[in-house]
Subunit: 320 residues, 2 copies
């Protein structure tokens, strides 16, 4: 098969060995993958794959099941699926546990379905499973126009919650508000204006890919019993806090990644996605926001678009 | 009735007005209360009672129900009970919601039962409800010989978990190990030796009343998926962290107090205590560790014992 290989920080579409598929795993002939910030970090050598994971980039895909391991129970050869991957999506084939794979929603094409797993799994897991988001609560998404932001805004709307965003441009903020967000703020370099004017009691959850630069401001904007869930460190790793405030406000700071979690936990996330979110896809109430579909040969260009923050929503890379 | 009143930082046993008892509340004629660190902080003006709470010191008591509000369903006049209070325990009478009150365990006297609510509720809530403690996990208690430490060590033992402690003296460490702790370390001023030698994979939960001084060392000792639960700031409020480590290790920092939580949440904690822990009291598998029982007139002396860290376990103050 062919797959993206990295040489001196550049991506090349080259020959690679077909991944083995055993036990409870399925082999997927990939239709498309999608770009995530983590891909850019991994390509730069800053985010090594977890032990046992493919060295090839790509945390999600859509495609057709070509082979099933001897212990596979719920998936079948020929099925159109979308999958959450610990790596290996930038390739013609990938192998993953069957419980990380779901049939594509009825409302979407196979190509579009590549844009679902990573951002919807991240949002569902962090907001509802880790963050215990409740009806009526207020959520702030930094990078509101990102794949995760656009997924999160829609989920908040459907589950009776209010979303707020920061984003890099007025255009992005407007997009987020149109999608369902209550209020957006165009961020300044390394900081954002307080949300105290819009949420005087504070935000219940902040889903934050920024880390260091926003840390103190995030805690300042957090409500009593609020949860700051950090999923990225685009703004550095240094954090300072007043522990007394954290204590008196009963707040939680949660460091969270999905990729390195156990097969079982990721299986539970996918199961919940199928139960809670798939019906919303099928009813056309939500959809993955796709900025652009490009060919895998244009992966380098796709990464550049993301690194320059030019996308609103996901960038899909078509493979076959 | 009489109650402890504070005048220029000193406690006096003086006349006070009987608290009203309405709706779902019960009035308890107090047999005994017990001393908590929070009492010392409140007396010093550093920990004001939450809105609506009694201004009188005292977060727990045992006693006999003297009166019930019109909506009380599960408690009866004449019943011997123990209660979690938001304040008011250093008095002859206190009023509180009926769902914060439990009948005393069969194995304990009314006097001894005053030492249960605050530390067992704190441990149960933080370890099991907030911290999701699982069988086989490892917990570190700072101030292992405190009321909370001695309650936590016993709970870990009964629920198939391993406990570790820091304490101020060799005698305290030995007490903790005898009570069921795996290993204890005598702390030095403002720091403690790493537990890496004893728990190379790190600690799953650290229940920490210290805060600032221990913050970085706590995070260093925390396992992947570990939870640092901060319940006090005896060692200051300044914290610094590496957010990247928190993220990659998927750790949680949780600020937690019970006192200011809703009546409902505290009721849930007491309900779980009755279901999960009361049978262990009744079977004499666990007990509150009581250092000394003193008369309420000696409250000042009792506070001094605690402020000098001379107690192992709880100090009970007998009132009637």
């Amino acid at each position: 098969m062919k797959a993206i290989q990295i040489n001196e920080g550049k991506m090349f579409w080259e020959e690679a060995s077909l991944p083995p598929c055993e036990g409870s795993e399925v082999l997927i002939k990939i239709k498309a993958t999608a770009v995530n910030r983590a891909d850019l970090a991994q390509k730069a050598g800053l985010y090594p794959p977890p032990p046992g994971a493919s060295q090839i980039l790509g945390l999600e895909c859509s495609g057709i099941i070509e082979k099933v391991g001897s212990k596979v129970k719920n998936r079948k050869i020929g099925e159109e699926v979308t999958a959450l991957l610990s790596g290996g999506g930038y390739a013609e084939y990938v192998c993953c546990p069957e419980n990380h794979v779901l049939p594509i929603p009825k409302s979407l094409t196979l190509l579009e379905s590549a844009a679902i797993p990573e951002v919807f799994a991240t949002c569902w897991f962090n907001l509802f499973m880790e963050g215990n988001l409740k009806i009526g609560e207020k959520v702030l998404f930094h990078a509101g126009a990102s794949g995760i932001g656009t997924a999160g805004i829609q989920l908040c709307k459907e589950f009776g919650c209010y979303s707020y965003v920061t984003a890099g441009t007025e255009e992005k903020v407007n997009f987020c508000v149109k999608l369902g967000s209550e209020k957006g703020i165009v961020r300044s370099e390394n900081r954002y204006e307080s949300f105290k004017n819009y949420c005087p009691d504070g935000l219940n959850i902040i889903l934050d890919p920024v880390g260091g630069n926003y840390f103190e401001e995030n805690l300042n904007n957090l409500a009593i019993d609020g949860r700051l869930i950090i999923i990225g460190i685009l703004g550095g790793t240094e954090g300072k806090l007043n522990i007394g405030h954290l204590l008196m406000k009963r707040q939680k700071i949660i460091g969270s990644t999905i990729r390195s979690r156990s097969i079982k936990v990721k299986g539970q996330v996918m199961e919940q996605l199928f139960d809670k979110i798939w019906p919303l896809f099928n009813a056309r109430k939500i959809k993955p926001i796709i900025y652009k579909t490009m060919n895998i040969n244009e992966a380098e260009k796709a990464h550049q678009i993301m690194s320059e923050n030019n996308n609103i929503g996901k960038i899909v890379l078509e493979i076959s």
